[in-house]
């Protein structure tokens, strides 16, 4: 104490320094990049029913674009990936409550930005209205008197609710499971999903002949992470940039989306 009071150690800056250390120490959450390295595991939140990004293979293990991308991300962090199944409704709480370290297949929205942070885009994604060839729909006005399935609470839900005219019957399901089941069983005429989900279904059931009617929103996928984690965010962004540059992300895109990566990603 005498040291702080002596003339060689002016009191005020010393106090300010101590205060700064206290504030920095108190407000900084443990650095998640370090936590992940220490645990040796990157916990990744994925949908379990969202092909071709993530869905169940015959052995019930998840596979898809997100799984391949996550494997590369984990390798860059020198840890093993651990996949945790999430739903549209619980995934953000899962992230903020640290049940997962990152979320995949997250679209950016102002509302979400208040709660979580995003990396750069790592996958192309746009939301579109899809339906069989036989159902004529070319714009929002044509949604009138049609039944439309959508995953409740997602960007698909809010974007179609915003443009749908009165008389459009929007059926909200709690998971993609319900949306796709409803569409395929003919329980609804149209569904609002990402372009790639439509492509997967087209590949499996040509009889229905689903096609994209019109785009609602272009919303490339980002990785979601907790706020105030600049080191983790930077590391993830660097890895994504690298994956784009060395062609590994393009390979993943061709494998699962059957298309090369768009140039503007």
């Amino acid at each position: 104490m005498k040291v702080l009071a002596s003339r060689r150690f002016p009191r005020l800056p010393g106090l300010l320094l101590a205060l700064a250390i206290l504030v920095a120490g108190g407000s900084a959450r443990a650095d998640e990049l370090d936590d992940i390295a220490k645990a040796g595991v990157l916990k990744v939140g994925i949908f379990e029913d969202f092909p071709p990004f993530s869905s169940a293979g015959p052995d019930m293990k998840s596979q898809g674009y997100d799984i391949d991308a996550a494997n590369l991300l984990a390798k860059a962090l020198n840890v093993k990936p651990e996949f945790v199944g999430v739903t549209g409704q619980n995934r953000i709480p899962f992230l903020t409550e640290h049940k997962v370290d990152i979320l995949l297949s997250v679209g950016k929205s102002a509302e979400r930005e208040k709660i979580i942070d995003f990396t750069d885009a790592y996958a192309p994604y746009y939301i579109a209205v899809m339906g069989p060839k036989s159902v004529a729909v070319s714009g929002p006005a044509d949604l009138k008197d049609k039944t439309i399935a959508v995953n409740r609470g997602t960007l698909e839900d809010t974007s179609v609710t915003d443009v749908a005219p009165p008389g459009a019957d929007i059926k909200r399901f709690s998971e993609y499971n319900g949306v796709i089941s409803a569409f395929l069983s003919g329980q609804v005429q149209l569904m609002v999903v990402g372009n790639d989900v439509g492509a997967t279904i087209l590949a499996k059931h040509p009889a229905i002949e689903p096609e994209q009617k019109f785009k609602l929103m272009n919303s490339p996928d980002h990785i979601g992470l907790n706020k105030n984690q600049p080191r983790l965010q930077q590391k993830l962004n660097e890895t994504i940039a690298l994956m784009k540059k060395d062609g590994s992300l393009n390979d993943i895109s061709k494998k699962w989306l059957l298309l090369p990566l768009p140039g503007d990603l």
Binding site: Q89, A149, R152, G153, D157, K171, R172, F173, S174, G178, S181, A182, S185, G186, Q187
Partner: protein, 222 residues
Amino acid sequence: MGYELDFGALLQYLSLFLEGTAVTLGLTAVAAVCGMMLAVGGAAAASEGSAGIRAFVAGYVELIRNTPFIVQMFFVFFGLPTLGLRLSAMEAAMLAMTINLTAYAIEIVRAGIEAVPVGQREAALAFGLKPRLVFALVVLPQALGNVYPALVSQVVITMLESAVVSQIAVVDLTHVADFIQSRNFRAFETYLAITAVYLTLAVLMRRLLARWGRRLLAGRAA
């Protein structure tokens, strides 16, 4: 992290709440009315019918009572269309709820029938009444009177189980809650409010049906 419950956010959705309540009660009413009629028929078939009919009814009852309602509902809504039978969500919900209620009600009514003293039937037959009339005018009313509380309970149970139809996007009370909380992110308050509504409905339904039953069955020989 402090969390403040905010129920005010729910007030703007009052009309949605009312719609959802109407759907829940409507579904329950349809299932109850259709279910009771089918249950009486089924119970009659089980007591009076041939061995084949008895086996069919028994098989139906066992199948429904040993499988979850949600699976029955998914089967009707997602599975039947592959056979060419596509029902709307409301129709599928009504059908599944009716099929479900009927199975339990058949057992209840059957127990009621068995509890009617054999002497009642014998006396009526001795008066020259045809067996079918004996059943309809003598046995059945007493049977129903015997098990009325159990039937009321089963209807209330059906109303509570109907929460599950929200999963096939029927806009019932639960689905309204799901929708509201997906917009205001206040899941706990929303579901707490809806649970209070369900509890109120259950209590009211039990009281009203009990009073109505007493009036309907008053004067019947115990």
